[in-house]
């Protein structure tokens, strides 16, 4: 258990490519942080820098009250779960879990007790004598978890641990990892490209884009108040609708649609989530329907608003979908972004 404190940390490769722009943040004891972003945004690099698998170009990294920049990964008191599990193929499940403890000078009895306890927690007891090649993907995932928890590390690192599992297992393991982390109360950093994982698991989410942290916030902050069009369109499924508009004398205009909104004049992007618009005969925005996707509980209506792509997530009430639908945009659900920088206004 420990806090993590990062000051102006950055990573530049020898060829000049900057993988992580200088960033500073603090992680509280027992907190689960999710780093989320598209491929190549630097989230894995950042995690690997914390693990000690990548050099830190500038800045300080503290785990607990130690600066660990120049410590070997084994000295940092961390445990990591890899995307492809990285189990030792020639060792049994029990030995896989015991290896890290053995090298830290734990006694045989201690090791046995820890392994038994972890195996029970993860329902691995009947599999302890098997080799990784004799396990299913989900079981390997559990062993990788077990290998991390037997060590009682100060910090857990997860590098997209669920991306090799099928959808059902992924959901199950997601809940399990979250429960385990709460129960053990260990600080954790979790990397994923899956925004659902990020939303459901995180205490706080760090959204990364092109090596820089775009926004740090709780899942609900990220969802309710995205700091930029990037965050708005990355978090949430389907993503937030973004409409190019012109702000002019207290009005936001898109083609022939105008909404009353206090805003400085200029080009803006108007954002609204697909699930927060509703159909209403009193609505002021005409919607031209082109395609319907059935989701079961709801349906996604694809269409156009003022000539721009727009998606509505409407409850599936079997209402007939006719032409000439009108949408109403609740004022509290509207987000305004600068058209150039994409920053929230």
């Amino acid at each position: 258990m420990a806090t993590v404190s990062v000051t102006d940390i950055s990573k530049t490769y020898p060829n000049g490519a900057q993988a992580v722009c200088p960033a500073s943040f603090e992680i509280a004891d027992g907190e689960l942080i999710v780093l989320v972003g598209p491929s190549g945004c630097g989230k894995s690099t950042l995690l690997r820098m914390v693990a000690g698998l990548e050099d830190i170009t500038t800045g300080d990294l503290r785990i607990g009250d130690r600066v660990v920049n120049n410590l070997d990964p084994a000295e940092r008191d961390i445990a990591m779960v890899f995307q492809n599990y990285a189990l030792y193929p020639h060792m049994t499940v029990a030995k896989n879990m015991a290896y890290g403890l053995k090298n830290r000078g734990a006694s045989k009895d201690q090791i046995a007790a820890k392994v038994t306890e972890a195996a029970e927690m993860l329902s691995l007891t009947p599999l302890l004598d098997r080799r990784p090649s004799q396990l299913s993907g989900g079981q390997r995932q559990r062993v990788a978890m077990g290998r991390a928890i037997v060590r009682d590390p100060a910090l857990f690192l997860f590098d997209e641990p669920l991306s090799n599992l099928d959808a059902k297992l992924r959901h199950q393991m997601r809940v399990e990892i979250r429960n385990l982390q709460r129960r053990l109360n260990v600080t954790a950093i979790y990397v994923t490209h899956d925004q659902v994982e990020a939303m459901t698991m995180a205490d706080r989410i760090f959204v990364l884009n092109a090596g820089a942290i775009e926004q740090i916030g709780t899942p609900s902050e990220i969802y309710r108040k995205p700091a930029s069009t990037f965050v708005a369109s990355f978090m949430g499924a389907p993503p937030m609708n973004l409409l190019h508009a012109q702000a002019d004398a207290g009005q936001v205009r898109m083609g022939d649609v105008a909404l009353r909104m206090p805003c400085a004049d200029g080009a803006v992007q108007l954002g609204i989530r697909p699930e927060e618009v509703s159909f209403s005969p009193m609505g002021e925005v005409p919607f031209k329907l082109t395609l319907v996707e059935e989701l079961g509980a709801s349906r996604l209506l694809h269409g156009k608003v003022a000539g721009q792509d727009f998606v509505v997530n409407a409850p599936n009430d079997d209402a007939p979908l006719a032409d000439g639908l009108m949408l109403s945009f609740p004022a509290e659900s509207l987000h305004l972004f600068d058209a150039q920088s994409g920053k929230r206004l």
Binding site: G52, F82, A86, P89, H90, G100, S133
Partner: protein, 293 residues
């Protein structure tokens, strides 16, 4: 596997024929000839042969000279295998860690592999040449007179050195590719689990390298037993009398110098049995024991 159907029953046989003929002519026929003639005593001038039963074998078993050569062969094989594998492993591990200029470095190390075996043997013999060999000069500098082809131990030393030198690149290539096929994330997991690089190597890297290493072990034993013929021939300069030789070389000298075809055949049969045992061991171990995935 898909079963192919041939309308002509002789077609598959005809298709296999070229391969079968090659195997029969170049492998089974000579092997049979060796077994057959090992039970005969040949006239040195080729006028006839008389059946002597197992005499050639019992003579071998009683011969102190054969025992001595077998002893040296064992020593030679063990030392050459150990050194060529050990040095190649060290080089491969170090080359694997090189980050800057890795490709150039590896290419340079592998170049030696492109040197043809007779050329390598010749180069080796030049290095140990009595008059101009730099290694001979080096020993002379320290006051030791290296006499290849005259002194038993000196010749053995030169034979081993050249044989090891010649085999290192082959082992290096295999071991390096074996090292690089170990998943990066497994090594990184080990990095987090164990601080000591040496222990990580023996606990994680080496066991994962074991399939490659075992394959190379067999290859190297075979190499030291059989393929070092050319090197030995150059070193002993056709004068095996007081020099160390291996079993294969003895087959050649007894058969073609001593004209004892029967005894030489019996020796080849012994070697054939040895190869057979090695092959069985390789299949047993490689197929069953050392694979993980």
């Amino acid at each position: 596997m898909k079963r192919a159907a041939f309308s002509q029953p002789l077609m598959p046989v005809a298709l296999l024929m070229p391969q079968l003929i090659i195997i029969a002519v170049f492998f089974y026929w000579p092997a049979w000839e060796a077994v057959y003639s090992s039970f005969f005593l040949q006239d040195p001038f080729g006028f006839g042969a008389s059946y002597v039963g197992a005499d050639n074998y019992t003579r071998l078993a009683r011969s102190t000279e054969y025992g001595k050569v077998a002893g040296f062969t064992l020593f030679f094989t063990l030392v050459v295998t150990f050194l060529s594998l050990g040095i190649a492993l060290l080089l491969a591990v170090k080359a694997d860690k090189v980050i800057r200029g890795a490709k150039t470095y590896r290419t340079l190390l592998m170049w030696v592999y492109a040197v043809a075996p007779p050329v390598a043997g010749f180069l080796g013999s030049l290095l140990f040449n009595q008059n101009i060999g730099p290694i001979t000069d080096l020993f002379a500098f320290f006051g030791y007179d290296l006499q290849i082809g005259l002194n038993y131990n000196d010749t053995a030393f030169a034979m081993i050195t050249v044989s090891v030198w010649k085999q290192i690149p082959v082992n290096f290539i295999f071991l390096l590719s074996g090292l690089q096929s170990i998943p990066v994330s497994v090594r990184e997991a080990a990095l987090i689990d164990n601080q000591s690089g040496v222990r990580r190597f023996w606990d994680i890297t080496f066991p994962l390298l074991a399939p490659t290493a075992f394959f190379l072990l067999i290859i190297n034993i075979t190499y030291a037993l059989f393929d070092t013929f050319g090197i030995i021939d150059i070193m002993v300069k056709g004068n095996p009398a007081s020099n160390p030789i291996t079993l294969v070389y003895k087959v050649y000298t007894d058969g073609f110098r001593g004209n004892d075809l029967g005894g030489s055949s019996a020796q080849s049969v012994v070697l054939m049995v040895l190869v057979l045992l090695l092959t069985i061991m390789q299949f047993r171990m490689l197929e069953r024991r050392i694979h993980y995935t």
